[in-house]
């Protein structure tokens, strides 16, 4: 698209199917201890690889 560039992002709607395994890091556990952002948590579910294709 000429005027719009779309970044490569995980499709959150698709993650409804394969998500929720819970293997990822607890959000604030080992770093900030005072906030709850989850955006910086990498997904540890291998099915995510398939889902994003």
């Amino acid at each position: 698209m000429k005027r719009i560039q779309t970044l490569d992002t995980r499709d959150l709607e698709k993650s409804v199917k394969n998500g929720g395994c819970g293997e990822c890091q607890t959000s604030c556990q080992s770093a900030c201890k005072t906030s709850c952002g989850v955006a910086n948590q990498p997904c540890e579910n291998k099915k995510n690889e398939k889902e994003s294709k």
Binding site: K2, I4, V16, E23, T26, S35, C36, E44
Partner: protein
């Protein structure tokens, strides 16, 4: 729902429910802002008039861009409606699985920081050290309650955990001894003020600790103002050489230097850059958590300055990356392509359900910030969770339980925010800490801008 903003010379559009991020030019930006509230002809008329002095913007161009926007909407990458409200109460949110414990191995501290939320490590109670027996039982409790989870997290916290270092080592060794049999993997982390770091701590931690969090506030005068020993002497000169050695020995992986900024140092990027000058590359700097009446509390007047600081940080980090001097800032780490799934984004940190804190006596609390508040005592590591009412309240506490989050574009990045911050700000864990929200949104805007900048740089 979408969020549009301009930052760092970029026009950015976030589609909240799909997680899509678009970098657009001025024309597309205006079209997207008008798209849901104006007819196509109205958009064409307004946009062609606005850009009439530009040769590349005519009716055909504008209609082509509108067609692109329509296509993105059809592909559910723009203006996506909310498909998740119904799953927020689904079965994946009803588990009693526990996967992370914060072990308060030392309710005592060798520093006397006046801003400490843990009241100098005592959590408003008695000084105490966790025994190995309690720590061992805590790991058993975690394994017993971890269901099918493989990765289990255990943070050694305090107070100052190195004041109980021998027990920390014994707990780690016990954990390693049962991993294979139990089919689990422990990720141990250590949060320390550095005063007791020595070669033994460094060697053992480098072998066993998945992450080490080193508490430094930045410039000497900033650090020493709060982080004093009981004789009133600042700790900067004693901890910096130890932390430099520690960080270097970890190969610059698996550590964070974590500071706190207050009303006294709203120019906190100077502290971050000072830490970078000292050789630290993995940085975290948090707004102070305290009562609004405390002199160190951040004020309304501080907010514009803090926003500017976050922008300064983002731009400097981009510059340093180009120069081969890359820094990591905890809140600017954002994994857009392999980040958390929607369940994590709705559920947040898991405090009170999959994450709990354990006191030196084995009592369970929803997280380290609730320790000492008897209303939130959940039970203990021998008898398990007995206070189902509190656990249930935390289980239901997610981004869909906070009405204030309904119309917030950042809700799937923050998951509704920290329950402890909400509790301290409003008296209710399902409230919101609005000041923290504003800082959080600014950080996410900066983090995403940096991703856009990196993509754009990569294209040139």
């Amino acid at each position: 729902m979408i969020h549009t903003y301009k930052l760092g010379g970029y026009n950015i559009v976030i589609d909240v429910y799909s997680g899509s991020v678009h970098s657009v030019d001025d024309v597309a930006y205006d079209i997207i802002e008008m798209f849901e509230t104006h007819t196509e002809d109205e958009i064409v008329s307004a946009v062609t008039e606005k850009y009439k002095d530009r040769g590349d913007v005519n009716e055909n161009e504008v209609r082509e861009c509108i067609a692109d926007v329509k296509e993105l909407k059809e592909r559910r990458k723009l203006f996506t409606s909310d498909p998740y409200a119904s799953i927020a109460s689904g079965t994946k949110f009803k588990s009693n699985t526990i996967k992370a414990l914060c072990l308060h191995v030392a309710h005592t501290c060798n520093l006397n920081c006046s801003y400490c939320f843990a009241s100098q490590g005592k959590y408003k109670g008695e000084r105490a050290l966790m025994s190995f027996e309690v720590g061992k039982r805590a790991l058993d409790f975690l394994v017993e309650n971890s269901g099918g989870r493989t990765n289990l997290e255990v943070d050694f916290f305090g107070g100052e955990p190195l004041m109980n270092w021998d027990v920390v080592k014994q707990i780690v060794e016990y954990g390693r001894s049962i991993e294979k049999e139990k089919g689990k993997h422990f990720r141990f982390t250590l949060t320390t003020n550095g005063m007791l770091v020595d070669d033994d701590v460094i060697e053992f931690s480098n072998r066993e600790m998945h992450n080490v969090v080193m508490s430094i506030d930045g410039r000497k005068e900033v650090h020493d103002y709060y982080r004093k020993d009981y004789a009133g002497n600042g700790s900067y000169d004693r901890i910096i050489p130890k932390f430099q050695k520690f960080a270097k020995s970890r190969g610059d992986t698996g550590y964070y230097v974590r500071g706190t900024f207050t009303h006294r140092n709203v120019d906190f990027t100077r502290d971050l850059f000072h830490l970078a000058d000292l050789g630290f590359t993995q940085l975290s700097m948090e707004p102070v958590v305290c009562a609004p009446t405390d002199p160190e509390a951040l004020t309304e007047e501080d907010l514009p300055k803090l926003f500017e600081q976050y922008e300064i940080l983002a731009n400097e980090m981009l510059k340093r990356k180009k120069e081969g001097r890359e820094l990591t800032f905890y809140h600017y780490m954002i994994d857009l392509s392999h980040g958390p799934c929607i369940y994590k984004r709705i559920n947040g940190c898991g405090s009170g359900t999959e994450y709990m804190a354990v006191t030196p006596w084995g009592e369970l609390f929803p997280c380290h910030q609730f320790v000492g508040d008897e209303k939130y005592s959940l039970g203990n590591i021998w008898d398990g969770v007995k206070n189902e009412e509190v656990r249930d309240k935390f289980r239901k506490c997610n981004v869909y339980s906070r009405r204030e989050c309904d119309d917030c574009w950042a809700k799937l990045y923050c998951s509704g925010g920290c329950a402890a911050n909400a509790y301290h700000a409003t008296g209710d864990i399902t409230g919101i800490y609005e000041y923290g929200c504003r800082l959080f949104k600014k950080r996410i805007e900066c983090a995403i801008m940096m991703k856009v900048a990196e993509m754009t740089e990569g294209d040139t």
